[in-house]
């Protein structure tokens, strides 16, 4: 008899980042890293990062922007994404004008519109008894909400999503910003955003494009480059992460009927359920790499000026030194400081919109489709870095008319 042995423990290495096995089930990799290699210098021959996995180290990096800078290094493209590629004090000026546009009060005005849109999408498939969750719900719901808020034409929805896909996922494993697929997509969106800004200059509307044109920073209007940098960031950030979160959540709920039942029976638990699933799933794997500005140490390891640090948010959120039984999804967890939206000054600008969309989505969906499952034999595939379930067929076991 041949001893086949036990399956090898997953080991995190540079290439794991782009591998579907890691994206689908990152927890054992995170644990292996925290236990044996919490500060890991790793590269692919072209580029190198220092990956960090412990909550304590990630906390420090997110809260020391002078030492761990967000500004791009020479290997990245020159186009700034405002305000994510700025450090304080410059960064703070931008957040002062952008935060009010995404405050909970502003976002609350969108509640009815989001609920209507969610129900409209559900109307489209509920009677069929099944749906292609990603294409029929997780992609259109947040993207249409965000495009309307921005003032991007809704009839161009498919083009915008396609451009975003090519920018975020078109570069493959190169991690180089000069990738031709990405460059072409960037040029395409730049051209369209510039046209839309021109249209709003001539004919203002009630949208963020118009608001940005009328906004002042330090007593002057934004320059063309600043408008483009801001709109580019909003475009990239607004059209993906809620889709990722929705698909991770519904894949979890479709396979965990006890958790799903709780949401159906007690919709008041939804805000807590959202926080707990954000913590556990951590759909956004990492924040933008931080550039080390001077020699220092991290978790006892030396890091040098010019090193780029990658905080693995999902590992911080599942670190047993700060979360009791992190592998258990418990909607009643009383205390939780998760970094699913990042932390420190760069805390996700759209987090209040994201939370609202996730709350409304879970409420409306489970009111109408309380029971559903993934058909047998379907292997879920999770996209890299931003953990989106690319194809998630759901079959409904019970619907409410």
């Amino acid at each position: 008899m041949t001893d086949v042995g036990t399956p090898a423990e997953p080991v995190f290495e540079f290439n794991s980042l782009m591998q579907p096995e890691f994206s689908k089930c990152p927890w054992p990799y995170y644990k292996q890293m925290r236990d044996t290699n919490p500060v890991l210098r790793a590269g692919n021959g072209v580029t190198e990062f220092v990956f960090i996995a412990r909550h304590e180290d990630i906390d420090r990096v997110l809260h020391a922007p002078r030492l761990f800078s967000s500004r791009p290094d020479e290997s990245q493209s020159g186009d700034p994404l405002i305000p994510i590629t700025f450090d304080p004090p410059e960064h703070s000026k931008w957040r002062r004008i952008l935060d009010p546009m995404f405050s909970p009060r502003e976002m609350a005005k969108l509640e009815d519109g989001i609920a209507q849109r969610a129900n409209g999408l559900i109307d489209g498939f509920v009677e069929r008894g099944e749906c292609d969750y990603a294409n029929e719900y997780a992609v259109p719901l947040p993207c249409l909400v965000f495009m309307q808020l921005m003032g991007f034409p809704l009839e161009e929805f498919e083009t915008f999503v396609d451009i975003k896909e090519r920018i975020l996922r078109g570069g493959g494993e190169s991690f180089q910003s000069q990738d031709p697929v990405q460059r072409q997509a960037r040029d395409q969106i730049d051209t369209r955003i510039a046209e839309l800004l021109d249209e709003r200059r001539r004919e203002p509307r009630d949208d963020l494009l118009t608001r940005l044109l009328n906004t002042e920073i330090e007593g002057r209007p934004l320059t063309h480059e600043e408008l483009m940098g801001t709109c580019n960031l909003l475009f990239i950030a607004g059209l993906d992460t809620v889709t990722d979160s929705l698909s991770c959540f519904y894949a979890f709920l479709a396979t965990n009927p006890v958790h799903r039942q709780r949401i159906v029976e007690d919709p008041d638990v939804i805000p807590k359920a959202v926080e707990e699933m954000l913590r556990y799933e951590s759909p956004v794997t990492m924040v933008l790499p931080r550039l080390v500005t001077e020699e220092t140490e991290l978790g006892g390891c030396p890091v040098h000026a010019g090193d780029r640090i990658v905080p693995l948010l999902g590992s911080a959120n599942n670190d047993e030194s700060v979360v009791e039984n992190p592998h258990v999804v418990d909607f009643d967890r009383p205390a939780m400081r998760h970094y699913a939206f990042g932390g420190g000054v760069h805390r996700c600008l759209g987090s209040h919109l994201a939370r609202l969309e996730l709350h409304i989505s879970l409420r409306e969906w489970h009111r109408r489709i309380p029971e559903y499952h993934i058909p047998d034999g379907v292997e879920l595939k999770y996209a890299a870095l931003l953990r989106q379930v690319e194809h998630l067929p759901l079959v409904f076991d019970k619907v409410v008319a």
């Binding site: 405050s103 909970p104 009060r105 939780m336 932390g343 805390r347």
Partner: protein, 63 residues
């Protein structure tokens, strides 16, 4: 008596305090937390907010 404050240097506007303890905190126009003036505070509610603030920005001094 006790004193409840938000350290504005640390707060980055996650908004967890006014979500988990809406009787004690409210949002300002930027989405950052503000303490609502109180005669007395509910200890359990304060603790819930403190334990859920990702920035450790809530300062509570019991006298």
């Amino acid at each position: 008596m006790s004193r409840l404050q938000i350290d504005s240097e640390r707060c980055t506007g996650h908004g967890r305090c006014y979500a988990v303890a809406p009787d004690l905190f409210a949002s300002d126009e930027f989405g950052y937390g503000q303490v609502i003036e109180h005669a007395a505070v509910d200890e359990e509610e304060v603790l819930r907010a403190v334990q859920n603030c990702p920035e450790n920005a809530i300062v509570w001094e019991r006298e």
